[in-house]
């Protein structure tokens, strides 16, 4: 009997030790006279699934040399997972180089620069074709962790150069920003 008690005590200590070593392991020990059984429920906690998302931004702005118009599409790909944030918004970054927001005159543009002679052409940004109503504070794409993630979320921006120069290559870049909360 004493031997059995000693064995049980040792077994309990062993199980306790094992329970401490393996994180979050719930151990249930059942002992009856003469027989010893032990059940151990192991919980493997890998932590919260990390937030993952993929964005496709336009690499450059292409303006039709005849019409002076162009467009660019940005996309939040399907399959995004927001765990440590509740919302994700894609915007045009305010204060970006060559990008100005004329709140007083209510139009927005970026200056495309000719690297050869430093001349510029003004390119307006709009939510619709021919408009100049896209502000750096405007949200272009917005999703929450309650929304379905089985489809892409896209936004097309429209660019207009009202006075096309006769020739030359003019370039400029836009900075997009992902704001999370």
């Amino acid at each position: 009997m004493k031997t059995t008690r000693k064995m049980l005590t040792l077994l309990m200590l062993l199980c306790l030790a094992l329970g401490c070593v393996s994180a979050n392991a719930d151990t249930e020990l059942t002992a009856t006279n003469g027989t010893t059984t032990a059940e151990s429920k192991v919980v493997l906690d890998l932590g919260e699934q990390p937030t993952t998302y993929t964005i496709v931004i336009p690499s450059q702005i292409n303006i039709d040399t005849t019409t002076g118009k162009g467009s660019a599409k940005l996309t939040l790909k399907s399959g995004f997972v927001l765990t440590d944030i509740t919302s994700l918004q894609v915007k045009l970054k305010s204060g970006v180089t060559n990008y100005n927001n004329h709140t007083g005159s209510d139009y927005n543009y970026l200056d495309l620069r000719n690297m050869a002679n430093s001349s510029t052409v003004r390119c307006y940004v709009g939510h619709k074709e021919g408009e100049d109503d896209c502000s750096p504070t405007d949200t272009l794409i917005s999703v929450t962790n309650q929304m379905a993630n089985d489809k892409d979320y896209s936004k097309t921006l429209y660019f207009t150069v009202s006075s096309l120069p006769p020739y030359g290559v003019y370039t400029g870049t836009l900075t997009f920003s992902v704001v999370t909360a």
């Binding site: 937030t51 931004i57 996309t75 920003s177 992902v178 999370t180």
Partner: protein, 174 residues
């Protein structure tokens, strides 16, 4: 008297024949000259250099349009962990495979509060990870609000920058 007549006749005949022969010779020469002239004219027409059809002539072949730039695919993160007091950190910033042949990416972490640059990577090719970064200084444990600036570059000789992306990220120092 009769002989004299015959002599006169023969003399006249001879003269007439000579004149006729001379006339024939002049006429022949004139006609020959004219023939030569027309033959030369004809020859000058037929000897014009022959222009052949250019071997490259054919139906209009529309040049293959250069491929349109695909968008830049950028993976998002919301946190990056670095050890407290360390000057190096293991990270896993990834340039997706979809950018192959088009864009390299660089990553730069900037603290929102002070605009201090914590680290900047070199070019990360498509399909590759940046596995380690060198920090500008060591940090005390805590959570710092930051921006991860992702700058794509065309994979050409100019390596010209494209549109770029800033994403909110937390720098977790522990």
């Amino acid at each position: 008297m009769h002989k004299r007549r015959i002599g006169t006749f023969l003399g006249g005949f001879l003269i007439a024949t000579t004149v006729f022969a001379l006339g024939l010779t002049v006429a022949n020469k004139y006609l020959l000259q004219k023939d030569n002239q027309s033959a030369m004219e004809q020859a000058s027409v037929t000897k014009r250099p022959v222009i052949t059809v250019d071997p490259n002539a054919g139906e209009l072949i529309t040049p293959t349009p250069s491929p349109t730039d695909p968008g830049v695919v950028i993976q998002g993160w919301t946190a990056v962990k670095v050890p407290a007091g360390a000057l190096e950190a293991n990270v896993s910033f990834y340039n997706p495979e979809e950018n192959a042949g088009w864009y390299d990416l660089t990553f730069e972490l900037i603290l929102k509060e002070t605009e201090e640059v914590v680290f900047t990577t070199g070019l990360i090719p498509p399909g590759k990870y940046c596995n380690k970064v060198t920090l500008s200084r060591s940090f005390e444990a805590g959570v710092y609000e930051a921006i991860l600036h992702v700058q794509p570059y065309y994979m050409n000789e100019e390596q010209s920058p494209t549109n770029d992306l800033n994403m909110d990220i937390r720098l977790i120092v522990e």
